[in-house]
């Protein structure tokens, strides 16, 4: 029979018996005092508006008059109304343009200029690609609206290379309006993604590429086995930022197409604005906003999981 030596202290029991010391209470209070300013700001600008949106989403309210409890009706409308579903679908289509093009091109550019990163060529490339990021979105939207117009630069270029039959008013076309908006978003986000990826690639030890070359790697192998794994976290940030930019887009769409033609380019952000301030359906707008937030979180969660730092 074994016997537990009486001299061995029972940590669990001791933990229960010991009252919190004055020192630890003071430490905890100090910690809360340090956290308080940031928490207050976060609560004021995030938690309270979120709670109010959630509350409004259960109401039928025009924003001025008396509000009535409406149960889950607003949510049922968001999830069943064909127009609203198409609008949510538009946002997901924009993800393809806002995310795939900037991340794909950013990776290609980062890989291409890796060797000349500190030279004039690398510096010039980074500056040129980052320029769209410093141009206000409204200015970018207006500039691209002109370029996609019937007499704009895109059509002039097509005519110049003998593709006159392809020329059209891109942003007014039911088929091409959404891809055109997607191109504008991709152009704006390309700079950010390239900067993040170029910065990330400089952290990869150059001797890994040399070791791979000696191991028999060709450029594709270097990209597949060194660059991609080495940029996993940066790619995660790029995807997260661009997916959010696509799902929560507003300004580019508002400036370039105002959601038209029809609702082919309307996105949830624009529809929330219209429902709340034009149609005075604050409850329905809030429900759409909550659904949009959930969709963003659901879309981002797997990206964060796949690109987390695996120790």
């Amino acid at each position: 029979m074994t016997e537990t030596p009486s001299s061995v202290p029972d940590a669990k029991q001791n933990k229960k018996r010991l009252p919190p010391s004055r020192g630890s209470r003071k430490t905890r209070l100090t910690a809360w005092l340090f956290i308080a300013p940031a928490f207050l700001a976060y609560a004021t600008f995030v938690l309270v508006p979120l709670g109010m949106s959630l509350y409004y989403s259960f109401l039928r309210w025009d924003g001025i008059g008396e509000a009535r409890f409406h149960g889950l009706t607003n949510y049922t409308t968001v999830l069943t109304d064909s127009d609203l579903l198409q609008i949510i679908g538009n946002a997901f289509q924009l993800v393809l343009y806002f995310t795939l093009i900037p991340v794909g091109l950013g990776l290609a550019v980062a890989s291409a200029i890796r060797g000349q990163m500190n030279g004039r060529f690398g510096m010039a490339t980074r500056t040129i690609l980052f320029l769209p990021q410093v141009i206000p979105l409204v200015a970018a939207g207006i500039a691209w609206s002109w370029m996609f117009a019937s007499t704009g630069l895109v059509n002039q270029a097509l005519k110049a290379v003998g593709l006159s039959s392809w020329a059209k008013g891109w942003l007014g076309d039911f088929v091409w309006a959404l891809p055109a908006v997607g191109i504008i978003g991709a152009w704006v986000l390309l700079g950010l993604c390239t900067m993040l990826l170029v910065t990330g690639i400089t952290k990869i030890d150059a001797s890994l590429y040399e070791a791979a070359r000696l191991d028999g790697a060709r450029p594709w192998h270097e990209f597949r086995y060194i660059t991609l794994p080495g940029l996993r976290q940066e790619i995660g940030v790029c995807i997260t930022v661009t997916v959010i930019a696509a799902l929560a887009s507003f300004d580019i769409v508002y400036i370039s197409t105002q959601g038209g033609p029809g609702i082919t380019t309307t996105v949830p952000g624009l529809e929330i604005y219209r429902l709340a301030f034009a149609h005075r359906q604050v409850g329905l707008a809030s429900a759409l906003a909550i659904v949009l937030m959930v969709l963003v979180l659901v879309s981002i969660a797997p990206v964060q999981w796949f690109t987390r730092d695996k120790k």
């Binding site: 030890d205 001797s207 890994l208 040399e210 070791a211 791979a212 070359r213 000696l214 191991d215 028999g216 790697a217 192998h221 086995y225 060194i226 794994p229 080495g230 996993r232 695996k310 120790k311």
Partner: protein, 361 residues
Amino acid sequence: MAGLALKNIQKTYGEVEVIKGVNLSIEDGEFVVFVGPSGCGKSTLLRMIAGLEDITSGDLYIGDRLCNTVEPRDRSIAMVFQSYALYPHMTVYDNVGFGLMLAKTPKDVRDQKIREAAKILKMEHLLDRKPGQLSGGQRQRVAIGRAIVRQPEVFLFDEPLSNLDAALRVDTRMEISKLHKTLGATMIYVTHDQVEAMTLADKIVVLDAGVVQQIGSPIELYQRPTNLFVAGFIGSPKMNFISVTVESVDGNAITVGGKDVQSLRVPAASEGIMIGDALTLGIRPHDLSPASDGAVVGRVSLVERLGNETIVNVELSSGASWLVVLDGDQAQRLGESLALAADPAKAILFDATGKALLRPA
């Protein structure tokens, strides 16, 4: 396995010439060490052999094949880097087998080779770990494993022990030496540590400012350095030097003396040497011993007791500082006068250009 031949190899970056016409022949199975101070061009030369740096001019032969423009992957070489260069997201197993995987080696053959390499390097228990979970010594073994699994004709080591602590460095050095004996492969090893060079090499190439100063066996370089640079670089503690004047010359020896040195007859090649010429006398710290009638007299300025030996720093009247290695139980005190006898047979004279006045062996 293959030997190498470097014929008038040069490397320039713009206007700057970093490798200035290196000629070198390395035999099949030989262990050659490139040694020299930082910036002497030894790593550049190794990277040129690996194909990671372009050769500005000259010819590089691996075996019988001219390899100047051959891609690194096609040179049948493997390299162990100072930083290990292990792929951080891959396990040790995948790191070691990466080259075989790219070469499309069948999976069973690949597995067998990886496990063989792991057995040779005693790292079977590490195969499932990632580099981040390994110590410096273990990482270095993985890097060596990645090199040997490809069965290259030439192994290149670029300061592979620099990131290890002193004790581990000695162990790993011995492992590399054993590995060379086991594999019998041609190995080229770069280091700035002359102890590593002396203990590992069949042949040492001493480089300075992109120029080969001397090529020879470790003992040859230690006993018969061809110039002041090699004499000072090879040997630890480094050789003591002092300016002397020729007092007399005969067929096989030169008698020199100076402010700090009484007449010392040193066996040397005396052609062209005249009485009154200024020369440099070099004596290794191990070749000096206390003697009341010693030719060199100075004052003890520092005593370093290492247990097995004592290194005494002696300040001479001219202000020059000499090192003397004595037995561990020597009891020199700071400030006391010390007369040292030198073994003339082991002293070396250098002319005004720094060339050693060696008699033919």
